[in-house]
Amino acid sequence: MIEVESEVQGNVWKVEVAEGQQVAAGDVLIILESMKMEIPVEAPAAGRVVELRVAPEDAVDEGDVLVVLDT
């Protein structure tokens, strides 16, 4: 299991994957918005999305878990 964390404080702009979905390393999972920038969060490894911890509009802090991947 890999917990994909946010590197920044910001808001969730888009969720690009669904629970149960298979992803490849480098696929964009979530797009965050902070200080007028779009910040894509990529899958660090291939795997299956077992849990989405955030939804669009959610506020996130640095270190918050966004997605849990089963690799």
Partner: protein, 441 residues
């Protein structure tokens, strides 16, 4: 002169407008979102009124709320600052409909210059240099036809806006095909206008912009150039005046052309004619910004003119100032709240924030110690402007100022700025818009 100015903005420019109002003896009304309730400049305004929410869309971009505060405040003019609604013709008209003055050019100038293809045509018609470019493109096929005639490399750009969004360098037809749909989508999302156009791409260009003032009745004055070649991920990082290492005669001729056209058009208030200078020395029009620029302090330092006060006075029907002598050299660096390695935004509470106080150095900031840098707005913490008799002296002063600028609680780009200011190529004036990308920091 106006009685009371409402400031539809935040941060460093809100504070700057308050200072200009104070200098003119005009009352100022500051606005603040829920995230900015502890901003230090609110106490410097005559009065401060709240806006709803924290996000830009709910607060500083919220036209009904802004117009509500305008009515409540009894202000007879609105200063839009830069960013947010500063180039919105709709907002400017709504302010006028509410019986107040919009401190900026007439709404039709915001529209005409907002359309990048129309703006280029307007300038070219009057003899300002432009690089070869297409009209607004309806389709990929039309884009291919233009490219076949003009040749690569080309730059693909949105008609509806600047700032680097939806822009792409193209080397061949394959690049064009890959970029066209994607850039149109980006442009549509950012500017509500999917139209694109193509322009000759110049290699290693330098960004040179001319500050102009107009009175709307044919009078115009230029205030020389600013060189803003140091850009990273598109926002400018270092700006200076005069432009280092470029031929003075050509710069003066360009500035005189910008001044002449500003007058002929009957343009009013402040504007900036942005150009690129190609490696072969040719200049080409990029766009005209119809508002005060972030980097206006550089021009203020070398001309001694209060640009924001002049802007307010021109909007109130005041006379154009005479062009001051260009004196000395000024250089501005932008201090951003960002992680030095990843350049990702860095938010947090400013547990320590001590801008330097030094002779020959000006710091514009909307922050104070104890305040929180939030993710809702841009990452600009402060602008540090050094002024001196020579470029070396201005750079030296900014370097000393940065060394003494204490910021704790968020990460900043100050180490990068210090490295740039000590780099041989930068010191020698060997800079183009690719400079920050091509050097390893």
């Amino acid at each position: 002169m106006f009685h009371r100015v409402l400031i539809a903005n935040r941060g460093a420019i809100a504070r700057r407008v308050i200072q200009a109002c104070n200098a003119l003896g005009v009352e100022s009304v500051a606005l603040y979102s829920e995230a900015d309730a502890d901003a230090p400049y609110l106490a410097e305004a005559t009065r401060a009124l709240p806006l709803p929410g924290v996000k830009a869309a709910d607060s500083y971009l919220n036209m009904p709320a802004l117009l509500g505060r305008l009515a409540e405040s009894g202000a007879d003019a609105v200063h839009p600052g830069y960013g947010f609604l500063s180039e919105s013709a709709g907002f400017a008209r709504a302010v006028a409909d509410a019986g107040a003055h919009f401190i900026g050019p007439a709404p039709h100038w915001l529209e005409r210059m907002g359309d990048k293809v129309a703006a280029r045509a307007l300038m070219a018609e009057r003899g300002f240099p432009v690089f070869a470019g297409s009209g607004a493109l309806e389709s990929l096929r039309e884009a291919r036809d233009f490219a076949a005639e003009a040749g690569y490399p080309l730059m693909l750009k949105p008609v509806g806006g600047g700032g680097g969004i939806g822009m792409q360098v193209l080397r061949d037809d394959a690049d064009l095909a890959a970029a066209f749909e994607r850039c149109a989508r980006l442009a549509d999302a950012a500017f509500a206008d999917p139209r694109l156009f193509l322009e000759t791409f110049c290699m290693a260009p330098r960004h040179v912009e001319i500050q102009v003032l107009g009175d709307g009745a044919g009078g115009a004055v230029h205030l020389y150039e600013r060189a803003c070649s140091l850009q990273l991920r598109h926002p400018k990082v270092v700006e200076e005046s005069p432009a280092p290492g470029l031929e003075r005669d050509a710069l003066d001729a360009l500035a005189m052309q910008a001044e002449r056209i500003t007058g002929e058009l009957g343009y009013d208030n402040v504007g900036t004619v942005e150009t690129l200078r190609a490696g072969d020395g040719r200049y080409g029009f990029l766009e005209m910004n119809t508002r005060v620029q972030v980097e206006h302090g550089v021009t203020e330092a070398v001309t001694g003119l209060d640009l924001v006060a002049t802007q307010i006075s021109l909007a109130a029907g005041g006379a154009l100032p005479a062009r001051p002598q260009l004196q000395g050299h000024a250089l501005e660096v932008r201090v951003y709240a960002e992680h030095p390695r990843t350049a990702l935004p860095s938010c947090g509470r400013l547990t320590r924030f001590r801008p330097p106080v030094m002779h020959g150095v000006r710091v514009d900031t909307g922050y104070a110690e104890g305040q929180t840098v939030t993710p809702y707005y841009d990452p600009l913490l402060a602008k540090v402007i050094g002024f001196g008799g020579s470029r070396e002296q201005a750079i030296g002063r900014v370097l000393v100022a940065l060394k003494g600028f204490e910021v704790l609680g968020v990460d900043t780009n100050m180490a990068l700025l210090r490295a740039v200011l000590q780099d041989d190529d930068f010191l020698a004036g060997r800079i183009d818009t690719g400079y920050l990308y091509s050097h390893r920091w």
